[in-house]
Symmetry: C2
Subunit: 195 residues, 2 copies
């Protein structure tokens, strides 16, 4: 995705390297009980991947950095002869996670969807093709909702156990795509009656 500027270079040099969003995602997942890099990747795919992704190649360097600055502590726990490292969040890690979560800098909204770009330029196509694009965008959102509904029972369970956050973000996803579907449906007639 996109470049998310970290704190100013000046401050970075003056104090210590600022962590980027991927490092906080890793920290948060360790805080929620993920133990290895592999488990972090799995948890991301099952939870936040609707609005955030992280590649394996980012996770391991992040774990190293987080351990170096004392926010997590790791120890070797090999499976057979294969090396493996598991981590726990430290006191400082919890404190830093909380600080990051509650820090009140404005959070810029950022959506990057080439499908909407194509819809914006749809006039450059003929009628059938523009309509086909609109239908594809609608179907894409329908598919996303199906996927999200799949993990809904798990999120509801966690909600009943007192943590509404996963259900909240899941409902965001559903509402979001439902909104896209509704707008597509609303504009379909206009896309039918065109030169």
């Amino acid at each position: 995705m996109r470049y998310m500027p970290r704190a100013s270079a000046i401050r970075e040099v003056a104090t210590k390297p600022t962590l980027g969003p991927p490092a906080y995602v890793v920290l948060g997942m360790i805080g929620l009980g993920a133990r290895s890099g592999y488990e972090i990747k799995q948890m991301v795919e099952l939870s936040i991947r609707f609005f955030w992704t992280i590649s394996q190649a980012q996770i391991y360097p992040s774990l190293e950095t987080l351990e170096r600055v004392g926010l997590i502590s790791g120890r070797a726990e090999p499976r057979g002869k294969r090396p493996r490292r598991v981590y726990d969040i430290t006191e400082q890690g919890n404190a830093e996670l909380e600080r990051w979560l509650s820090d009140d800098e404005p959070i810029p909204f950022e959506l990057r969807d080439i499908a909407l770009v194509k819809l914006f330029f749809a006039e450059a196509m003929d009628r059938e093709q523009a309509l086909a694009l609109l239908v594809r965008v609608k179907e894409r959102s329908e598919q996303q909702i199906v996927t999200l509904r799949h993990i809904e029972p798990a999120a509801e369970l966690v909600d009943q156990q007192g943590n509404p956050s996963p259900l909240l973000t899941l409902r965001m996803g559903v509402a979001f795509h439902q909104a896209m579907i509704d707008v597509c449906a609303e504009f379909e007639p206009k896309f039918h009656a065109r030169p």
Copy 2:
């Protein structure tokens, strides 16, 4: 944003360099009548910036590439002594834009929003802070809607002239943020009553 894989490297070597999304955005904007790099940047900010951004440092190299492969044609049109280059889309450019718009590869949906990540991890904060975050996310969407409503009259005018696309994408944005607001409002009580 995010890495958007272009076509396979093999094909790229075998035939000719594949254009990435930024180049098509530039091509599309030239097609809609933008003439200079500067105008492209302005048009993007006034139209698609809700779901796509492009930095000036990307625009000029894209213009060069597009001209080299014959999709746009440029000529010098200096303002005073300062050099300036203006462009028009070519026949091939129109054809390639249409091909890209109607090509039926699946378009992956991609949202990347650190605010939702923070909401997902909200349990790590205490009640007041979690609630404050929820409220901030809601207000952020309210602000986005205000901005979008601002350009709505222009989009409606273009719609009445027979091009519904800008209004469609604008309505997407509004519906999108309204969905976020609704979900935030729905979960606010749950965030009040928490340990």
